[in-house]
Amino acid sequence: MLTTAANLMDEGGRAGRSGAPTPRQVRRRRAALLQQLVLLGALAVVAGLIVRNTVINLQARGLASGFDFLWQEAGFNVGFSLIQADASSTYGRIFLVGLLNSLLVAAVAMVAATLLGFLVGLARVSPNVPARLLSKGYVELVRNLPLLLHLLLWQGVILRSLPTVREALGLGGVAFLSNRGLYLPTPAAWSAVPLMLLTGAVAAAVAGLLLARRAHRRQELLSPHVAASIGGLVLALLVVTAAAIEWEVPTLKGFDYRDGVKIMPELAALIAALTLYNAAFVAEIVRAGIQSVGEGQHQAATALGLSPRLIMRLVIVPQAIRVMVPPMANQYAHLIKASALATVVGFPDLVNVFMGTALNQTGRAVEIVVLTAAVYLTLTAAVSVGTNWYARRVKLVER
């Protein structure tokens, strides 16, 4: 209830019989308008002072203004990029590179943290005592250490203790792990047959999902046999596709591996730290969600004769998910913002590349800060809009 003391003092009134405001209300609305004008006026004065100071200071330091720098050549190389970029790229392109890198880190960490977090969260509430204790130990240990410490631990200790390039760990002969990075194979080219197989696998997966949804709506259970067959089909098609196409395998040439894709240790450290840290929080959210479903639900379901697995799937999890969504969305927003830590380890994310290097080179502090802030504000706003949409949708279903 948001009634405040102020409301009580002002006595928010309603219209009189004829619908027109009474003299008392007119007086009060005028007073409120005046107060708001004074407030906005004061803010305008403060803003004006700030702008004045900024302009003077910028001029004193001989710094230019304007967004035109976005079309200038940046003149530096970025260590990792999802799109084509080099020293001749514009600052605008560099902005895009940083943004995509940030999104990549956030997305991968989000998925990994959710998966790991769910596993640990379920372990937290499992009847298996060692699992419960170990997961509790993991959560308590990880949660109470700063994320930055996690990051430095991964980068400075764990990844540095990996073998050198010459003695890299081979994973099946197609991937290699060393202290200079993780090397993975990439597809060299695609031809007709593997493409068809891949399409078939995707189609089978989609069909399976639609089938499951239809069954769910009719409150039927998708038969485990059907599910297993569809899963098996998809898997088989993927395996055959993988075998059929040509791969570029990383091979040691000179001082480093060539071909394939190299994932730099900074990126790996960032993703590992973000995943492990956020998984602990996700685990707590999952635990709280499951425990929020009252004991009565469990008892009622058991009385109906449902097996423990069905109880989890049909009764506990749907209700738990509803409780979990807002804090989970909050955690995702945190994760997106935490990707900015890339600056510390030197991975070229948005803050590092744009607010760091670009700002140093061009001196356009205000413009760069405004752009970067706009990006993060948009991202976090998107997360909260998405949460609200989901919460509203879930409410309808519940009724």
Partner: protein, 372 residues
């Protein structure tokens, strides 16, 4: 475990019964048993290695790296550089000042769990409120009897404590004002407050720190200089205030209309109503969330590293490049981890205890009297 009988049988029989239950459960769930055994085995192996490296073969006293047993941890590194980790680059003769700054917050928090004495609450509150000003003055000096020490020399645990506590204490009043503004009846006030809160909550702290150090000097009148520490502290304070404001707002939303009416009927004005009736209840109801915010803030103080300040973590990182102590990153980070873990875990335990006490004070009868 199966539910035990309500009475307690003598110990040997109970043990026998429990192990019987264990065996029966194990027989029914062989997979679970396997997983348990695997986990226990892994835990044993890892634990044994940690103890062996960290304690058994560790060296605690040495002149430099070469004096350490390579099979164990080289804690001598920590022991040797402890003064620097604790006090940063503070001049040796004045270190007592930094020591006071470091010890004051834990001392205040310990007072909260010590047996009650008269005026304890007022003392602790006053201690917290005055800490930023007193700590800053004590460290900065420049007064008769206290030599001046520039902020560039502050570092280590001293800086961490200073930044953490000051940011928290300073952000509290701002957060309360923001929360009240966010729930005010004037739309302009509500919008401005909401915008301010969402702005500081939507940005990463790294970006905020960069902004504070780069842009705040531009906002100041020309010629006015502010030390980097103050700029960073301003950024962290506003960041913390935005999060705390949302927590306080949550507490305010739980106060029933009847409380406002009763206070109004007694003749309370807006500010006295907030101060004596509404806020005490609102804040008490969200203490766990407040402590969580404080814990998060304490961990976030490590971020000042990105603007070149030497908090505890950064000063250990700096120490790692000392030629005498090469390659001791593990020991360094473990040391930092232990300190942070102890403090953060301690704070969360205290909050749990507070919540437990509050729950005992609020049986069901409170519902009728407290809200409508």
């Amino acid at each position: 475990m199966a539910a035990e009988a309500l009475s307690s049988p003598p110990i040997p029989r109970r043990l026998a019964r429990q192990s019987g239950v264990l065996l029966a459960t194990a027989a029914r769930h062989p997979f679970s048993l396997l997983v348990s055994l695997a986990l226990l085995y892994v835990a044993w192996i890892v634990g044994e290695r940690i103890v062996s490296w960290g304690i058994v073969h560790a060296t605690f006293v040495a002149a430099d790296r070469s004096g350490c047993d390579p099979a164990g941890a080289c804690w001598a590194f920590i022991v040797n550089r402890l003064p620097q980790f604790a006090f940063g680059f503070y001049p040796e003769a004045e270190r007592w000042r930094a020591l006071l700054v470091v010890l004051a917050p834990p001392a205040l928090m310990l007072l909260a769990v010590v047996p009650e004495f008269r005026g304890r609450r007022a003392f602790i509150t006053a201690g917290f409120c005055l800490y930023p000003l007193l700590a800053f003055t004590l460290l900065a000096g420049g007064l008769p009897g206290l030599s001046a020490v520039s902020t560039e020399k502050w570092g280590g645990l001293t800086l961490t404590m200073l930044v953490g506590m000051s940011a928290f204490v300073l952000s509290f009043p701002i957060a309360i004002l923001l929360a009240l503004a966010r729930t005010a009846s004037l739309p302009a006030l509500r919008l401005v407050a909401a915008g301010f809160i969402e702005f500081w909550r939507g940005l990463p702290l790294v970006a905020i720190l960069f902004m504070s150090v780069i842009m705040l000097p531009l906002f100041l009148p020309p010629g006015v200089e502010a030390p980097r520490l103050s700029l960073a502290l301003a950024g962290i304070t506003l960041y913390s205030a935005a999060y705390l404001a949302e927590v306080v707002r949550g507490g305010l939303q739980g106060i029933g209309r009847g409380q406002y009416e009763a206070a109004g009927a007694l003749g309370f004005g807006f500010w006295s109503m907030q101060g004596y009736v509404v806020l005490p209840q609102a804040l008490r109801s969200v203490v766990p969330a407040i402590v969580n915010t404080a814990i998060a803030l304490f961990k976030d103080t490590t971020y000042v590293m990105v603007v070149g300040l030497f908090d505890l973590l950064n000063i250990v990182v700096a120490g790692l490049s000392d030629a005498h102590w090469i390659g001791l990153a593990t020991e360094g980070y473990i040391f930092v981890g232990v300190i942070y873990w102890t403090i953060c875990f301690g704070m969360s335990r205290m909050s749990a205890r507070f919540e437990h006490c509050e729950q005992r004070r609020q049986p069901a009868g409170a519902a009728a009297g407290a809200s409508q």
